[in-house]
């Protein structure tokens, strides 16, 4: 069956016509989505991730919601909790002065099929807006998926006005067999700084395709880290546009995959103004029969002279049936630039293992030490003291060698 | 003969040279000394034609020609040589090949016949030996992987082979130990003669222990504030540059 046919079957149960908001826009977004359906390998942007194949089983899934009490990180900061795409007021902080829960957002369609799908079926999301010059501190944004056969499509918006600061810790968790397609629109105004740490711990039966669309203005900074450990298939896709001179993005991610998990980190960093810098490091640890994917593209427009772009992709394969596919791309139209990327793929370094064994450590322990070291290195970009322990805990509880 | 008259120059909005008058007759070696930020390197870059400096006034002539109107390669052909303070690395470009290409480009521009490889290599090997440089210096890529001292010696090697009429030595002594300093000075002294002049740009007096200048000029805040004989260098060494900048 084609991507479109499966999509039809799965989405038939959603009565888009009954959803609130601009119906015409929803229908046109839906049409945009159906022009491709679930993307598969025929789409270059999905060369290594066949979403259609994973969604095949979902088409026949019986619809059921289960209300599980989600376990939330125990940190004492303001929080917003969305359950199946709807704000749960009982779990959320009362009043955040810079927050509106977002009603139905304007239904912009998109050439990205999953973003178009989100636009067609979303029920809104968090709308964080920090006014000029404000430091809004740190907030926790939780999304919980709970149930079977659901399509959950929150649409968050984070807007930082000139010179403002915000740190968002996003935790995504769930139970059941659902599809979660969050879209986050980000605008960082001149001189602003957004730090955005994302932990994806979806249910192992779920499919997670998150899209972050960020525009960074002059001298502004967007610092983001994603740790992906959950889902049957997970993709985190970033589109970051450096739109003002001197803008800076630090886009880091790590994924830990085992069993038959499929994890995909896709980044497109577009330098569209002069003198911007981008730094990306993406690490994958792959065990079992899991498959990791990294696709990263640095685009430099003709006007973006003095661009400084760097991208590093490292993968550690821990088993004979693990696989990594990596496609780091440079697309450059300006001459006065410094851009580079690197990729290394391999197993643990036998020399390091030997070194540890020569000091009396067993081989098993030596491997464990080195894997933890690789993972902890991955956490280095998390400078926030509230966020750090949440991510460390996630890594501690990850078990390589687990069958899934 | 180099004649600098009322030279003023700026980088962006900032004036670096505020009116320099300086004449270096053939056969003479002049030293330009001064504190950091006085404009010493700017002067050498402007004389050799580097981009990024705006000449806002004055004139420079070399053997009667308007130097400032010439492209960098034309200045080299006319006989100007700049020994860089920070020599540039050229990955993949062999040192011998580079120098020979330069020597022949300059010879062509002067209407002289080109040197064949054998003659060039013979001369180059002799020069390498005279500068106490390792034998593989000619085979390595230009300045790639060279130590600081090797880079400076490589500049003097190029000077020896290009046979300029006027050498601009920009802080050639920085980063050299005493032995290397002696060798580099030896290279310059060997070139001395009625047709060779040099502008030795330096912060310290120690290079001048080995290359005795005919004249010493003190550059401060973009102007030459004092000129004198070799004894001026000694005086500066003893008393420092204090008080000169305000002049």
């Amino acid at each position: 069956m084609s991507g479109t046919a499966y999509a039809t079957k799965f989405l038939d149960r959603i009565d888009v016509a009954s959803l609130p908001g601009d119906q015409e826009a929803r229908q046109s977004a839906l049409a945009a989505f159906f022009s491709t359906g679930w993307p598969d390998r025929k789409h270059e942007a999905w060369h290594y991730t066949d979403l259609n194949a994973r969604m095949r089983g979902f088409a026949d899934e019986a619809l059921a919601t289960r209300m599980l009490r989600p376990e939330l990180p125990s940190v004492d900061i303001p929080r917003l909790v969305f359950v199946n795409g709807v704000l749960d007021k009982t779990l959320s902080s009362d009043a955040l002065n810079f927050l509106q829960t977002r009603g139905i957002p304007e239904q912009k369609t998109s050439s990205l099929p999953i973003v178009a799908l989100n636009a067609a079926i979303t029920l809104g999301g968090a709308d964080l807006k920090v006014s000029a010059g404000q430091n809004a501190g740190t907030i926790l944004l939780v999304s919980v998926g709970s149930g079977d056969g659901l399509a959950i499509a929150p649409r968050h918006r984070i807007t930082l006005e000139k010179g403002s600061n915000l740190t968002v810790i996003e935790v995504i968790r769930g139970a059941g067999r659902y599809l979660h397609v969050p879209v986050t629109e980000i605008n960082v105004g001149d001189g602003g700084t957004l730090r955005h740490f994302r932990l994806q711990e979806e249910s192992r039966d779920s499919v997670h395709v998150a899209t972050v669309l960020a525009t960074i203005a002059e001298s502004a900074t967007y610092e983001t880290f994603t740790l992906g450990v959950g889902a049957s298939l997970a993709r985190s896709e970033f589109h970051v546009t450096l739109g003002g001179g001197g803008a800076d993005v630090q886009l880091n991610a790590a994924q830990l995959l085992t069993g038959t998990q499929h994890g995909d980190v896709t980044t497109i960093v577009a330098h569209e103004a002069p003198g911007c810098t981008s730094r990306q490091t993406v690490k994958s640890v792959i065990d079992g029969s899991a498959r990791g994917v990294f696709q990263g593209r640095i685009e430099v427009a003709r006007i973006a002279q003095k661009t400084d772009g760097y991208q590093m992709n490292q993968a550690l394969l821990l088993s004979d049936s693990a696989e990594i596919d990596s496609k780091p791309e440079l697309e450059i139209f300006a001459d006065d630039v410094k851009c580079s990327h690197g990729a290394t793929i391999g197993a643990l370094d036998p020399e390091q293992i030997f070194y540890l064994r020569s000091r009396g450590v067993s081989e098993k322990d030596a491997r464990a030490i080195l894997i933890r070291a690789f993972l902890h290195e991955a956490l280095e970009p998390i400078t926030d003291y509230v966020a750090r322990p949440i991510f460390e805990a996630a890594i501690q509880s990850w078990r390589w060698g687990a069958s899934g | 003969m180099l004649e600098i008259k009322g030279l003023r120059a700026a980088v962006g909005d900032k004036e670096i040279l505020a009116g320099i008058d300086l004449t270096v007759p053939d056969g003479e070696i002049h030293a330009v000394m001064g504190p950091n930020g006085a404009g010493k390197s700017t002067l050498s870059y402007i004389l050799s034609g580097r981009d990024g400096y705006e000449v806002t006034g004055g004139a420079v002539s070399f053997d009667g020609e308007d130097l400032l109107a010439m492209a960098p390669e034309a200045r080299a052909a006319a006989g100007i040589f700049l020994a860089f303070q920070y020599p540039i690395e050229l990955p993949g470009v062999g040192n011998a090949n580079f120098i020979r290409t330069a020597v022949n480009a300059v010879r062509r521009a002067r209407g002289e016949t080109e040197m064949d490889t054998v003659a060039f290599l013979k001369e180059a090997r002799n020069a390498v030996k005279a500068l106490a440089m390792p034998d593989d210096m000619l085979k390595r890529n230009v300045n790639v992987g060279f130590s600081g001292g090797e880079k400076k010696r490589n500049e003097i090697l190029q000077m020896t082979l290009l046979k300029p009429k006027l050498a601009l030595l920009d802080e050639t002594d920085s980063g050299l130990d005493i032995d290397a300093l002696r060798i580099v000075a030896g290279g310059v002294n060997a070139a001395r003669g009625p047709k060779f002049s040099a502008l030795v740009i330096t912060h310290y007096q120690r290079l001048l222990d080995y290359i005795t200048p005919d004249r010493v000029h003190v550059l401060a805040a973009g102007r030459i504030v004092r000129s004198g004989g070799p004894e001026l260098a000694v005086e500066l060494e003893q008393h420092g540059y204090g008080g000169l900048g305000a002049a």
Binding site: I324, L330, A347 | V93
Partner: protein, 483 residues
């Protein structure tokens, strides 16, 4: 290599800018009618007095081609190619030359002008040359001395007649007829090319070289080259290409297949200098080439070196299938684009067996309004334990109207393998340029010197005489890109 030295002189003589090989040769040609159909294919096969099995293979390829579409994934744009408007066969008139004495003097003249002496006495340096004019091999030198050691070096047509068992065994065994759109087209209509067979244990005593020349108008050129190195054999093969300057685009779709058995080694070097079109982007060759080598034997080695300076469009991915344990694949490439040229080139290294290693070194230089893309695949299959790949891709941009792109695909399915990839994009630094100029080099010479330095690690893989020619070509290709 005398041929190359003379080519060099030709370059030097024809000072000024632009393409140096743009003359046309006036020779009576036997040209098939325009268009492509089964009748034309039968005509080609008949002209060449081919056996039935080969005609059948051609027809099968043609039918496969009909069902295929032009690939669209490469970063190139061009007007639709009208396949029915081309001639698929053009050859100098008259019976096939039996020896050099029979070759049309006008043709010998042309090769002389190009600096390719087909007269054996003239070729002092001892490089055996096969000259392919439009679609037909016109002369192969040094055949007797090669035959003494058992090396077969002849045109493909001749190989079909004289060594049908070898051709039948290996033709299409590395690049199957239906491999891709252009390979299928080539399989249907190929007219000639070179054939090399080096028997067990023989190190080929001289460099083998093919010189390709497109001359006829509106003629597609579809050579087919097949090189087989038996156990322990080794051979180094060079390929050079030029064409006249014309306003219209010409299609070139070649296929090269290499087979290396146990401990055999094949080194394949190309200096591709097809007409690139003029400074406004008119004319030039469309170069859609499939080159692939199979390292079938253990410890076999295939090494591709290419210097791509010509063609309006280059679509080319010389690849290695590393099937034998411990096999080695190498790809060394310099691709220069200027004016409106477009190059999408790279390699595929497919690791199938344990302990296989591959090295990729790619240097792309874009100038003018050109587009230069490296596209490469490194794939390590589960059986390829301890496989190693190292890839380095560097791009240099000259001027602010060109594009440089790097699109590597890296896939590993074996945990004991190690894959490393590095890529950089930069420009010639102002400091380097000033340093050279302050030593008396003109701006253009300085750029040439720095670019040659940038490409050095690739150029040094070329046979020495070729390297000198390649260096000059780089400088010529970049003329007019500075200032």
């Amino acid at each position: 290599m005398v041929a190359v030295t003379e080519t060099l002189q030709t370059i030097n003589q024809l000072a000024g800018t632009g393409y140096k090989f743009g003359f046309e040769t006036d020779i009576e040609m036997d040209v098939a009618p325009k268009g492509l159909n089964e009748k034309i294919i039968r005509l080609i096969s008949e002209k060449k007095r081919e056996p039935d099995w080969l005609l059948e293979w051609r027809l099968k390829s043609y039918r496969a081609w009909l069902s295929m579409e032009e690939p669209a994934w490469a970063r190139i744009v061009h007007p639709k190619i009208e396949y029915q408007e081309l001639h698929y066969y053009a050859a100098p008139k008259g019976p096939a030359p039996k020896s050099l004495a029979d070759v049309d003097p006008e043709l010998l003249n042309m090769y002389d002008k190009l600096g390719i002496p087909l007269n054996e006495r003239a070729a002092l340096a001892g490089v055996a040359i096969d000259a392919v004019f439009d679609s037909v091999s016109v002369a192969t030198t040094f055949r007797e001395s090669l035959a003494k050691v058992g090396v077969i070096f002849c045109s493909m047509s001749e190989a079909v007649r004289e060594h049908p068992e070898l051709v039948r065994k290996f033709l299409g065994s590395v690049v199957p007829a239906g491999d891709n759109y252009y390979a299928a087209l080539n399989s249907a209509v190929f007219s000639d090319g070179s054939f090399v067979f080096v028997p067990r244990g023989v190190r080929c005593p001289m460099e083998l070289s093919t010189y390709f020349r497109i001359n006829a108008r509106n003629t597609g050129q579809f050579e087919r080259t097949l090189i087989i190195a038996e156990e322990g054999a080794s051979v180094s093969y060079l390929e050079g290409c030029t064409a006249p300057m014309r306003d219209e685009n010409q299609l070139h779709a070649a296929v090269v297949e290499l087979v290396a058995l146990d401990e055999a080694s094949i080194k394949y070097s190309t200096v591709q200098n097809w007409y690139p079109g003029d400074a406004q982007g008119n004319g030039g060759i469309y170069n859609f080439v499939t080159k692939r080598g199979a390292c079938r034997g253990r410890k076999s080695k295939i090494s591709w070196t290419q210097v791509e300076t010509g063609s309006a469009i280059t679509w080319k991915y010389p690849s290695c299938i590393l099937q034998g344990e411990g096999a080695v694949g190498e790809f060394y490439s310099v691709a220069v684009t200027n004016h409106f040229q477009q190059a999408d080139t790279g390699t595929k290294m497919i690791h199938l067996a344990p302990n296989t290693t591959s090295t990729i070194l790619s240097k792309g230089i874009s100038a003018g309004r050109s587009s230069n893309t490296y596209r490469g695949l490194v794939r390590v299959m589960p059986r390829a334990a301890n496989a190693r790949n190292f890839t380095q891709c560097d791009s240099l941009l000259i001027g602010n109207h060109c594009g440089a792109h790097t699109v590597p695909y890296i896939e590993s399915r074996n945990q004991s393998s190690k894959v490393e990839h590095e890529a950089t994009t930069s420009k010639i630094s102002d400091d380097q340029l000033f340093y050279c100029r302050s030593r008396g080099l003109s701006e253009e010479d300085s750029v040439g010197l720095i670019v040659n330095g940038f490409c050095r690690d690739v150029l040094k893989e070329l046979p020495m005489e070729f390297a000198v020619e390649a260096q000059k070509l780089l400088a010529v290709s970049l003329e007019g890109s500075v200032g």
